[in-house]
Symmetry: C2
Subunit: 310 residues, 2 copies
């Protein structure tokens, strides 16, 4: 008979999910990790990972995920490839409904469904992702030493990261579709005072072009005038979307359009439900802290299960 | 002239400090990482690290630290070997006094001084650390499949970890110097119900012996009777001591004898002072979450510095 109940289900197979899987397998918790497709998450969008501690020369996002998965499998990670379409977390026994209509239940749940960058949805964007199109300045800024990059966006992240990029790039052009920034005043003032940053207002990117990497972008201003700007890279910083469509957002007290608040030990508002990685309400979204939170979430799950099963 | 002021000082060079150093160097923050001796911290007490995600076959604690340090140096990590004996964190400009009497100042400080396990202080303990003497069941339990191990302690950690160890070990003997456990009732009941756990009351370990690894321990009960117990390993779980002697504990609202509480973004009670790794007040003390917190602390430091320097 097919098993359909587990002490712990881990939802998602990015760094947070795989780290949780490693810790759950090592702790011999009766567990299942549900991955939507291949393991990975947003890491796979990154061409090269230079900032996950432990790899002096860096490694590809794909390679890192492969290593994390192999390690968890060595200790007995149990996985299922399936798409969870809805969840009922209102009872002690939590229930997950899969796309084929079948149900899985668990006592404890670790949500690691991650987030995805808001795309511009213009020609060339997907093809050149990781080849000059980036969604993370913290990750990729050092690759653009003495180059010219564009930043798209007008919020805190875009404007702050434009400043960060000037530590490497010789010139940063910030492109915004309005004539004022949304970022807080103090962040704006700093950007305006930075001589390496110039601004293109009331304009949108309509295309990203280049042979092996980004070479130029097409712009259209609000009056319909079209221009071309030669750049070596483009950072699209117009928002992050949580992958939380299958979750009971009200019960989880989700905020900012679906991100899940937790305490320091990754516990959500629902007893027995933890959240780790980019789906958490937090400021820092890096591989290493996602992995750290995955480990922490297993301890919280184990403590919850210990008290439950007595 | 020797530089003695930095935007950011990172105190400590375990996984939290080295991860913070990597992120600070990559963000080109004017920084200094102060290490007491060689880089490392408690990781060096562990013979083999199997649970840091990204290394399918594991690696030695020494090797992991070496890799983390080489990576941070590649991006320009700036270090100083020195012993900080006291700190004044009451002003915006923070001041650190070194053993030789000299002072360093900074605007932002990340505390990664870590913690150390409380030792039994008996013959053989130091010599056999990493060779059968362990201070971390989460780390080392899987090495003791079908073996007999001793656990020393009577608190929540010791009693819970004794249960955890029975998932691997065939027999766990819990040794406690009193006749009742300090652990909460529910944790105790679970241990008493576990047939793989036996108890030796009113006894202390007086020595740990073995050739290449732990083979037996010497015990003395409260009446002075001495016995020998053959075991394959011993987990000493009698407490963790924060390395916080140089810190203003009241200002930091330290708890549990010197651990530092922080918010989710590693900010302490003092503006501009962050804490990451084992020195934090937290439940999970693993390499990967220390490293994650180090990265998070740099973002918090950067945000603090950005608002300060405008």
């Amino acid at each position: 008979m097919k098993k359909n109940h587990y002490a712990l289900i881990i939802l998602g197979s990015g760094p947070a999910g795989l780290s949780a899987g490693l810790y759950a397998a090592r702790a011999r918790i009766d567990h299942l990790l549900i991955e939507k497709g291949a393991a990975g998450g947003q890491v796979l969008l990154t061409d090269w990972v230079d900032n996950y501690p432990g790899f002096p020369d860096g490694l590809s996002g794909f390679e890192l995920i492969e290593k994390m998965e192999a390690q968890a499998r060595r200790f007995g990670l149990n996985t299922l490839t399936a798409n969870v379409v809805s969840t009922d977390l209102s009872q002690t026994t939590k229930s997950l409904t899969l796309e084929d209509g079948s149900q899985l239940t668990c006592q404890a749940l670790i949500i690691c469904t991650g987030a995805r960058p808001q795309r511009l949805e213009v020609p060339g964007e997907i093809e050149l992702t990781g080849k000059g199109v980036s969604y993370c300045a913290t990750c990729d800024a050092p690759f653009y030493r003495d180059m010219h990059v564009a930043v798209v966006g007008g919020g805190n992240t875009a404007v702050q990261e434009a400043g960060h990029l000037t530590k490497f790039a010789s010139r940063v052009t910030l492109i915004h579709r309005r004539d004022t920034l949304r970022a807080t005043k103090i962040v704006q003032e700093k950007a305006f005072a930075n001589k390496k940053i110039d601004f293109i207002w009331n304009s949108q990117v309509t295309g990203i072009e280049g042979e092996k990497g980004v070479e130029r972008i097409q712009l259209r201003d609000n009056d319909g005038h079209e221009t071309t700007l030669a750049v070596d890279g483009i950072f699209i910083l117009i928002g992050v979307i949580p992958n939380s469509e299958m979750l009971p957002l009200a019960l989880l007290k989700a905020e900012y359009g679906g991100f899940i608040p937790t305490d320091n030990e990754t516990r959500t508002a629902i007893p027995g439900v933890m959240a780790a990685g980019d789906i958490r309400s937090k400021e820092m979204r890096q591989i290493v802290n996602a992995a750290g939170e995955g480990a922490t979430a297993v301890l919280a799950a184990e403590q919850y299960l210990n008290h439950l099963t007595l």
